[in-house]
């Protein structure tokens, strides 16, 4: 028996001492470190390569940091790289993508949030069937619908235009976004909705004055989903637009996969990083808004 440890007076008191370098800690943090390095390495290689000149790349050591830092590849990727007949770089694709993403995100969220609100709160006749059909749409493979949509767009005269693509993105965003908004609005206290009805607010009054102000978190989630989804889209972009309206992803592919001339790895890396920048920025600035609880105070504590 340990005479000190089991003594009542002068024995242990206060917090139990902890060892910082216990075997457990070393194991946990070691694993985390290795996994983090594994995931960050490709990004490191891309950044490093994009800052090198071609002669340095030909040396073959992809992990070595650049001896001479040059931003030439970035400038070239943005403004000079050639795809087909156009030689104005990714900038064209970037602005096309902006012109596609902004209206698509706005339209799809505007329509889906009203859909979700109507389904959650107004329970019109046939609401359940409508909802089931909508959700069912989410499970039909895109490939099945590609050609019919080409025909539809051609018939309404939108084939090959940016607005045609916006329309397609809006429709394909509908099932998941409607589900998202419906579930969120269902989770808001129903009594708020009833109180607003007693107070004489109508369909739009309740939507804009009561529901919208309480729904910032779900709108942020929807915006993140849509911006990254639509920005990263390749399939619809390549099918429903013409070469000079191609979104950034399609143009990136055309730059990287061009078979003529020398493979400019540094330009390709810079172009890829540029394309990925928008979703990254969205994640960084919106992360905090995810966790905001806004309905606090609606219900008595």
């Amino acid at each position: 028996m340990d005479p000190v440890r089991n003594r009542v007076d002068g024995g242990p008191s206060g917090p139990r001492p902890r060892r910082r370098f216990s075997r457990r800690n070393i194991f946990i943090y070691g694993t985390l470190f290795v996994v983090a390095v594994y995931y960050l390495l490709p990004l490191y290689v891309m950044i490093v390569t994009s800052l090198k000149g071609m002669p340095e790349i030909r040396l073959g050591n992809i992990f070595s940091p650049p001896v001479e830092i040059t931003f030439e590849p970035w400038v070239k990727a943005w403004a000079e790289a050639c795809t087909g007949l156009n030689c104005d770089g990714l900038s064209r694709g970037f602005w096309n993508s902006v012109r596609i993403t902004v209206p698509s995100v706005f339209l799809s969220i505007a329509v889906a949030s009203v859909n979700g609100y109507a389904l959650a709160n107004w329970r019109f006749r046939g609401a359940d069937i409508f909802f089931t059909i909508l959700i069912f749409g989410a499970f039909i493979p895109y490939q099945v619908m590609l050609y019919p949509i080409v025909i539809i767009l051609r018939e309404i005269g939108l084939y090959g235009t940016l607005w045609g693509l916006v329309l397609v993105h809006t429709i394909f965003g509908m099932p998941i976004l409607t589900l998202l908004f419906r579930n969120y609005f269902t989770s808001l206290p129903e009594e708020l909705f009833k109180a607003a009805r007693v107070d004489g607010a109508g369909f739009w009054g309740i939507y804009f004055r009561i529901m919208l102000p309480m729904s910032l978190p779900i709108f942020v989630v929807a915006i993140i989903l849509q911006v990254t989804g639509i920005w990263n889209d390749f399939l619809f972009g390549v099918i429903y637009t013409k070469p000079d309206l191609y979104p950034m992803t399609v143009q990136l592919n055309n730059i990287v996969n061009s078979v003529q001339g020398v493979k400019e790895y540094n330009v390709n890396m810079a172009a890829t990083l540029l394309t990925g920048l928008v979703p990254l920025v969205i994640y960084f600035i919106s992360g905090k808004l995810f966790v905001r609880g806004i309905a606090a105070g609606a219900v008595k504590g």
Binding site: V198, G200, A201, M214, A296, G297, V299, K300
Partner: protein, 363 residues
């Protein structure tokens, strides 16, 4: 004059009948409580009156206007919800003015109304706050204020106290009662809490299975319950029920309880009593007297044994067995009873209830 009349109202959800041919008249300025266990249709009825639910059949008349097909806002009602449902993003003033703005009322008139309501409810210093910054009691006042500014005829309360702690609940109960005396509006109040019902109501409608079981003043509901359900639902600690038989005895009747016969002198019967009728004798704990063997007055006739004593502060509840039946008696806490004590009990027959065993209706 009737303020709210409900005429033959039925409501079905698919095949489920929630309300069945329900009739109810609420008088001008009356405080009516709808009381019942959960699922009895009381909140549904309130939502029908408010217009938040469409009835399947029947009419709803408020202030001599048939409002059956009208929107909630046009019915002249204000509603206070269980969660209070204050709009969280608006200030107290915004909450109060929301309904008035929807009516398109001019701005200075809105301010006037809000000032008046805030004064009555003593929430003037809170007008700039958000609901999250208010206490439970303040939230309730704002919720009432939202109905008050709209100058409605009828206030509807949907279990406004049921998720508060016991202390706050009794405080706010008093406040609601005071407010009713001040405002003199008609109020319809839904609750499953019988204490709230008994303390607040001018009349109570006890509901079960979508049907009103009894509609009476609290005193009558408590002392002369119309059927077994009302008798068992109202009262805490609950009424004791003893199975037995009504018997003819001399000129009158008596109730046979096992080997004992309780003469029914003093019992005011609702209907003609018939001999050899299987019945249930119901008596509240405070209408049972209980004495230790020894110093027994003449009224306490029946020997019993003490099972259990439950001290409750001011008084105690004593459970005794009387010839195989168990019943409880309420005694002053200065009297002590122990398990196994031999006692004698007596009944205050004018306050007892007798129900037919088959129909469960008061005899």
């Amino acid at each position: 004059m009737e303020s709210v009349s409900i005429r033959d109202v039925s409501l079905n959800f698919g095949a489920v009948r929630v309300l069945e041919k329900l009739n109810l008249d609420v008088m001008e300025g009356e405080f009516l409580v709808l009381l019942g266990p959960s699922g009895c249709g009381k909140s549904t009825l309130l939502n029908c009156i408010a217009g938040l639910l469409d009835v399947s059949d029947g009419q709803i008349i408020i202030k001599e206007r048939n409002v059956t097909w009208q929107e909630p806002k046009d019915r002249g009602i204000g509603m206070v919800f269980q969660s209070y449902a204050l709009y969280p993003q608006m200030t107290v003033e915004g909450n109060l003015s929301f309904g008035l703005k929807n009516q398109g009322m001019p701005r200075d008139q809105i301010r006037e109304r809000i000032e008046r309501a805030a004064k009555i409810l003593q929430i003037e210093p809170l007008l700039a706050r958000k609901p999250a910054q208010l206490s439970g009691g303040q939230r309730q006042r704002v919720a009432i204020g939202r109905a008050l500014v709209r100058d409605v005829d009828v206030f509807l309360f949907d279990e406004p106290l049921s998720n508060l702690d016991a202390k706050l609940r009794s405080e706010l109960r008093v406040e609601i009662k005071r407010l009713h005396q001040k405002l003199t509006n008609t109020m319809i109040y839904v609750t499953h809490d019988q204490i709230e019902a008994l303390t607040l109501a001018d009349r109570i409608a006890v509901m079960k299975g979508g049907v009103i079981q009894q509609l009476d003043e609290p005193h009558t509901i408590y002392n002369r319950p119309r059927n077994l359900f009302v008798a068992g639902f109202i009262g805490s600690p609950p009424m004791s029920f003893l199975d037995g038989e009504v018997m003819a005895k001399g000129n009158g009747f008596s109730f046979r309880l096992g080997e004992h016969e309780v003469p029914l002198a003093g019992y005011v019967a609702e209907t003609e009593l018939a001999p050899k009728q299987a019945a249930i004798f119901g008596v509240r704990p405070e209408h049972v007297e209980i004495h230790h063997e020894g110093d027994v007055p003449e009224t306490a006739l029946y020997p019993a044994t003490v099972d259990l004593e439950e001290p409750m502060g001011a008084d105690s509840l004593v459970w005794v067995s009387l010839g195989g039946h168990t019943l409880s008696a309420r005694v002053d806490s200065s009297q002590r009873f122990r398990r196994g004590d031999k006692v004698r009990i007596g009944f205050n027959l004018s306050m007892a209830s007798i129900f037919d065993q088959e129909t469960e209706i008061r005899l």
